[in-house]
């Protein structure tokens, strides 16, 4: 039973976004376990705990207090036990600089937070159903930004 669950972790400082994120997953008919942390410092503390099972997919907001998403991404890709986690950037902005930076730093996909709940559901469902092994090997700048 436990093995079938897809572990999902969201790091976002915005309470409403965390709520919408959870709601969306509840409506998706997939066995997922969603955890959330409130900022970058909390995220790194969580990931470095011994007893937890590492998430399959990490959704990472960029704009967070204390430690922002960009710093977390760099740290995750540096650490041996974390570097294989699939990281989906989950941000309001889609500035060319942010996209370029996160791509270079090794994020797997870039999601611009949609302004429609149905669309959000759709995107999250898509992300979860991606075969990450395959996706990562063929990653390039063109399919980095997720648009449906």
């Amino acid at each position: 039973m436990q093995e079938d669950l897809i572990h999902i972790l969201l790091a976002d400082d915005d309470e409403d976004d965390r709520l919408l994120f959870r709601d969306a997953f509840e409506e998706i008919r997939l066995k997922t376990k969603v955890d959330t942390v409130n900022d970058g410092v909390e995220l790194m503390a969580y990931l470095n705990r011994k007893e937890i099972i590492l998430p399959h997919i990490l959704f990472l907001d960029l704009n967070m207090p204390r430690k922002n998403g960009m710093e977390c991404l760099s740290e995750i890709r540096r650490l041996d036990h974390l570097k294989d986690i699939a990281v989906a950037i989950y941000s309001t902005s889609a500035s060319a600089d942010d996209i370029e930076d996160t791509f270079v730093k090794g994020a797997n996909v870039y999601i611009k937070k949609p302004s429609d709940f149905a669309k959000l559901r759709e995107i999250l469902q898509h992300v979860v159903s991606i075969n990450w092994q395959y996706h990562t090997s063929g990653l390039n700048r063109d399919n980095f930004i997720l648009s449906l």
Partner: protein
């Protein structure tokens, strides 16, 4: 050129004067000789006449004696002895005179000796006859004999005197001939030399007056240039100075004093005196840099402050240049400029630059707010609206549904505005990295981005070949997107949309508004459609930010798209213009420099 000429002229004049001096000395010599000759000649004539006269005199004395003798002989009266004695004295005196006159002529002396003998003989004869018969009359025979003798001797005396006169005349003649020959060429030579001298002097006069004229001209030019330098110094607020490093002697132009707030030449210039005017904090510039022994640099520049006599602080810039004169002495020449105005305005400019940078930073942070912080609540509003509509719209009343859909469209429009504003500000400030790009490729990218809408509208887009240009690729792509989007949006509902994109070269020479500098070549890219078009009078307003020709409920839009286009084209040093015909279509012309 002129200077060279003057030098040549002065050399020429010197030569002329030396030559003239020699000529004059020569003429003087010749004239002196001539005069001496003339004097000698006239003396000779006088001498000759004196001799002649004296001889005549002598002969007449002899005759006087003769007459006295005759009378005595005939009458035997001793009264007649008295004239005879008188004549004898005179004859002696006359002889003494003649001997003096004939001192330098041997032949004449000899003649004189013979004459003396003859006269002595005659006088002896006469004396004899007196002693013979004093108081008694001679008989006829005695008288005849006395007379006969007398006649013979007298004849000899006459002949002797005549030959002497002739000899004297001959002397005179010979000497006259000699002088005549000697002085024959003198007047001619003198005349020729005189003419030569006159010519030389006239020529010299001509040259000198010419030179004087030139000098006057040059003087005038010099005066004008001096005046204009003075004028320039005043207007340009600068002054000139010369500084002899060995002696420390300084020379200032008048304006130097005025720059210091003093009367021209009101003090003796010196480094020490100048330092008194320099701001105390800036004096080290001079004490370190101006030790005459250590100045080696060809040019030196200094910035410092001056406190003028009236207490005003001014900013000065000095530029000096080191020169060596012909004797190897080092001279520094230079100018001092009052750069207060420039300095203050550059400070003001820096200040304004700082303000501008500050406001740019604020603008950038505003962009960030617009892109992130404003979008975030808006996105949430939209997301929650979408959730409510999905889950709860069944419970709404009709009017509630209507209000809700209006809320939704208003929020959508607000989002569009924010997105477009962001695009506009990005076109404004994004780093301008120019790359050689194929415009055909950028157009294809633009079409790919709009593929869905092109398909929806069933539009036909034709394009001719576009050039490769040095551009900011993403901006030109945005330009194509905005223009095509514009054509898609403002189309006529019942007409198939056609968009034509073409390109040609032009130099904008005959363009009424845009004027290219130095005949630069431009690519004119035209994007035209068969849509709604517009009244030509609105053509320029189209590119103004937020300007709209249509109400938003008819044609959704923000009035930013074309403003972005204009910005992009300006970023590329190009121009954009629009032409429209209502109900027929519109064309947008982009001019990009080659």
């Amino acid at each position: 050129m002129r200077q060279k000429f003057s030098y040549a002229s002065s050399f020429l004049l010197k030569s002329i004067f030396v030559a003239s001096l020699f000529v004059l000395i020569f003429i003087s010599g010749v004239s002196y000789n001539h005069t001496v000759a003339l004097t000698e000649s006239s003396e000779l004539v006088v001498h000759s006449y004196e001799v002649h006269l004296e001889l005549d005199q002598l002969f007449s004395y002899v005759k006087d004696a003769e007459i006295g003798h005759h009378s005595f002989v005939i009458s035997g009266d001793s009264v007649f002895l008295q004239p005879f004695d008188e004549a004898r004295d005179k004859i002696s005196k006359s002889f003494i005179k003649l001997i003096k006159l004939a001192a330098d002529k041997k032949q004449q002396q000899a003649n004189l000796d013979s004459l003396y003998e003859l006269i002595s003989l005659r006088l002896g004869q006469m004396a004899n006859s007196f002693t013979h018969k004093a108081g008694t009359r001679m008989d006829q025979i005695q008288i005849d004999r006395e007379m006969l003798w007398g006649r013979d001797v007298m004849n000899s005396i006459r002949t002797q005197i005549n030959s002497m006169i002739a000899l004297e005349a001959q002397y005179l003649n010979t000497q006259q001939q000699k002088y005549k020959y000697e002085t024959l060429f003198t007047p001619l030579i003198t005349l020729m030399l005189l003419i030569f001298s006159l010519t030389v002097f006239s020529f010299s006069y001509y040259r000198i007056s010419n030179d004087l004229e030139n000098l006057r001209e040059t003087n005038k030019e010099l005066m004008i240039s001096t005046e204009s330098i003075k004028h320039a110094e005043k207007i340009g607020e600068f002054s000139t100075w010369q500084w002899e490093l060995e002696t420390g002697k300084l020379v200032y132009s008048d304006n130097q004093y005025q720059l210091l707030g003093c009367q021209p030449q009101s003090f003796e210039p010196s480094l020490e005196k100048y330092l008194e005017f320099v701001h105390p904090d800036d004096r080290h510039i001079f004490t370190v840099g101006n030790d005459p022994e250590k100045i080696n640099k060809d040019t030196s520049v200094a910035f410092y402050r001056i406190i003028r006599k009236d207490g005003q602080t001014r900013f000065f810039k000095s530029i000096g240049k080191l020169l060596k004169d012909s004797k190897g002495k080092r001279i520094m020449i230079g100018i001092n400029c009052d750069v207060t105005d420039q300095h203050l305005s550059s400070i003001a400019l820096e200040e304004r630059n700082r303000e501008l940078e500050q406001s740019n930073k604020e603008l950038a942070s505003f962009n960030h707010i617009a892109s992130h912080d404003l979008q975030e609540p808006l996105r949430k509003v939209q997301t929650f609206i979408s959730r409510i509509l999905e889950n709860d719209s069944d419970h709404f009343t009709e009017s509630g549904k209507e209000s809700f859909s209006k809320i939704q469209s208003a929020v959508g429009r607000m989002r569009m505005l924010i997105d477009d504003l962001l695009l506009f500000s990005r076109a404004n400030k994004a780093e301008k990295i120019f790359q050689k790009s194929d415009l055909n490729q950028l157009l294809e990218n633009a079409k790919a981005e709009l593929a869905q809408r092109i398909e929806e509208k069933n539009a036909i887009i034709n394009s001719t070949s576009l050039p490769e240009l040095q551009v900011i690729p993403f901006q030109i792509q945005q330009l194509f997107i905005n223009l095509i989007e514009n054509s898609l949006k403002y189309s006529r509902p019942d007409v198939q949309i056609r968009i034509d994109i073409s390109c040609e070269k032009t130099n904008l020479q005959n363009h009424p508004v845009f004027k290219s500098i130095n005949n630069k070549q431009f690519y004119k890219i035209t994007v035209s459609d068969n849509g709604l078009g517009f009244e030509q009078q609105y053509a320029d307003s189209l590119f103004v930010l937020f300007y709209r020709l249509h109400p938003p409920n008819e044609y959704p839009g923000t009035g930013i798209g074309l403003a972005i286009c204009k910005k992009i084209v300006e970023n590329h040093s190009g121009f954009i213009e629009a032409k429209g015909q209502p109900g027929k279509g519109s064309s947008f012309m982009i001019y990009l420099p080659e």
